[in-house]
């Protein structure tokens, strides 16, 4: 009996007398899911990600956070193909060390962003399948968020969502942080506590409707005192 797994699509009419060559392709990429989010405040930055690693309809791991600490003032969130995420973060770590040894100082957030752009573009014709968002403090101590596409285009933002639930989160952030599509609302500057609460609520919503987001939420809050991490549980189903 054919297993139910085989009935992914409403079946197409099969040609039963087809004897020609059939092309099978090997894809070097896989999509491992996950959502990342970064918000920049007046003197802080937040980088948050869920911790679910999935493939197809299965879960590989419930505890695989996508935020990686680069320096004392910078955290990067990578989602997409996990293999490329791991390699890319290793390469960035190595380049940070090299910079530190040659220039005797730590790379700033802006410099890391510029460097990442060139690293990604160097693989323009076989890209790293990774959606990156860097969050950190710039030289003046103000929060900075840099968002990337898989081949290295980047810009500085106040807030950005990336990964599988990005299309659901970005409009919500536009409304709550950017005060878009609203009139007659007072533009209060974002405090750290309100930002953290907003990030938690927004991920709860994402986990409700996106199957690839869930399990737990890892939040990294970057201030001049350092990087504080907290983990809160999300839906596991």
């Amino acid at each position: 009996m054919l297993s139910a797994q085989g009935f992914g699509d409403t079946g197409k009419m099969k040609e039963y007398h087809y004897t020609g060559p059939v092309e099978h392709r090997f894809s070097p990429y896989a999509f491992n899911g996950g959502t990342v989010l970064a918000v920049a405040g007046e003197d802080f930055a937040i980088v948050a990600s869920d911790t679910r690693l999935s493939e197809g309809y299965s879960i590989h791991s419930r505890d695989s956070p996508k935020c990686y600490k680069l320096t004392d003032t910078t955290v990067i969130g990578c989602s997409g193909f996990h293999g490329d995420c791991l390699t890319l973060t290793k390469i960035i770590d190595a380049r940070l060390k090299m910079y530190k040894h040659s220039n005797n100082k730590t790379m700033t957030s802006g410099a890391i962003a510029a460097m990442l752009s060139t690293i990604l573009y160097s693989r323009r014709f076989f890209p790293y399948y990774v959606y990156n968002i860097i969050g950190g403090l710039d030289e003046e101590g103000k929060g900075a968020v840099y968002s990337f596409d898989p081949v290295g285009s980047y810009q500085r933002d106040t807030y950005k969502a990336g990964g599988s639930a990005s299309a659901m989160l970005q409009p919500l952030l536009d409304n709550q942080i950017g005060f878009k599509n609203m009139e007659g609302v007072e533009h209060v500057p974002l405090t750290q506590d309100k930002a953290v609460q907003l990030v938690k609520d927004v991920f709860i919503s994402a986990a409700e409707r996106d199957v690839y987001t869930g399990d737990a939420l890892r939040i990294c809050v970057i201030t001049k005192e350092g990087i504080k991490e907290q983990t809160i549980p999300l839906r596991k189903d």
């Binding site: 054919l2 009935f7 079946g11 609203m182 009139e183 709860i204 996106d210 199957v211 839906r235």
Partner: protein, 275 residues
């Protein structure tokens, strides 16, 4: 194609009328994708126990990676003594079971008997085979009739299996593991319900296409107990902040009022029978 199988036998052989139409329809969406049907991406399970049949299902319906419905009903009514769980394309499972249900109701009225499960299975198999797999419905049929307690599975290509326990859908492997481990013939009611609950729960936790609550349907000679939800999801979305918008947040650009001039021409009162 609203044939009533019971009243007239369908034309013999295969009907390929729609092949040319489907090919033409695909050509209409040049470049873009044909609209994707809503799949249930499900875990459903059924178990035969001493006094009847227990059917279970999760309640999540997905449209590729987005959850479209958090509380969809996957256990469908077929007859007073037969219920059916459906996995696959949501529209296909709903319409197929509705069609089957109406056919069986006509049969009951004609013959004065409760339909037998094997009759429901034959009608389903006949219809799905005739459509050559184009109807994406994986169904688990369970029911109790005068010949005993039955559990059948019907695949989209028309295959039928009679089994004592079963799981279908994208979460079927996880659920089947639990069922294989815990099933015994002639179980008691509470044990059977617990086994199905644990099996669906395993599917919900391991499979991304299944989630939210668990529905259970118990069918016995005495009647049907449709418990929806049998177990609510323990993940309540409790957000700390309130997201409310004052009236006036959305700007009104222009306003146009059209008054409808109505006059009463005739008034009739009809009593509604609310008994």
């Amino acid at each position: 194609m609203a044939l009533s199988n019971v009243l007239e036998t369908p034309a013999a052989g295969f009907n390929f009328d729609n092949v040319a139409r489907n090919a033409a329809l695909e050509g209409l969406f040049e470049g873009g994708q044909t609209p994707k049907p809503l799949k249930t991406g499900t875990t459903i399970a059924g178990v035969v126990f001493k006094d009847g049949v227990v059917l279970g299902a999760d309640t999540r319906a997905t449209s590729s990676e987005v959850v479209a419905d958090k509380m969809c009903a996957k256990i469908h009514y077929i007859a007073p003594n037969i219920y059916c769980c459906g996995a696959g394309t949501a529209a296909d499972t709903e319409k197929t079971t509705e069609l089957l249900s109406s056919n069986l109701t006509i049969f009951s009225m004609n013959s004065g008997r409760n339909p037998r499960v094997v009759m429901a299975v034959n009608i389903l198999q006949d219809m799905l085979y005739r459509y050559r797999g184009q109807i994406g419905a994986n169904l688990i049929l369970g029911g109790v009739d005068c010949t005993g307690n039955h559990l059948y599975t019907v695949g989209p290509y028309g295959s039928v299996n009679k089994v004592p326990y079963l799981a279908m859908g994208s979460g079927n492997l996880a659920a089947l593991g639990i069922l294989e481990d815990g099933f015994k013939p002639d179980m008691e009611l509470e044990k059977a319900k617990e086994l199905v609950r644990v099996a669906i729960h395993a599917g919900i936790m391991s499979d991304l296409g299944s989630g939210n609550n668990i529905d259970i349907c118990v069918i016995t000679r005495q009647g049907v107990d449709y418990i929806r939800p049998y177990q609510e999801s323990e993940y309540k979305d409790n957000r700390k902040m309130k997201y409310k918008y004052r009236p006036g947040t959305t700007p009104v650009l222009t306003e146009k009022v059209v008054s409808l001039k109505l006059e009463v021409v005739q008034e009739t009162v009809q009593q509604m029978d609310t008994a």
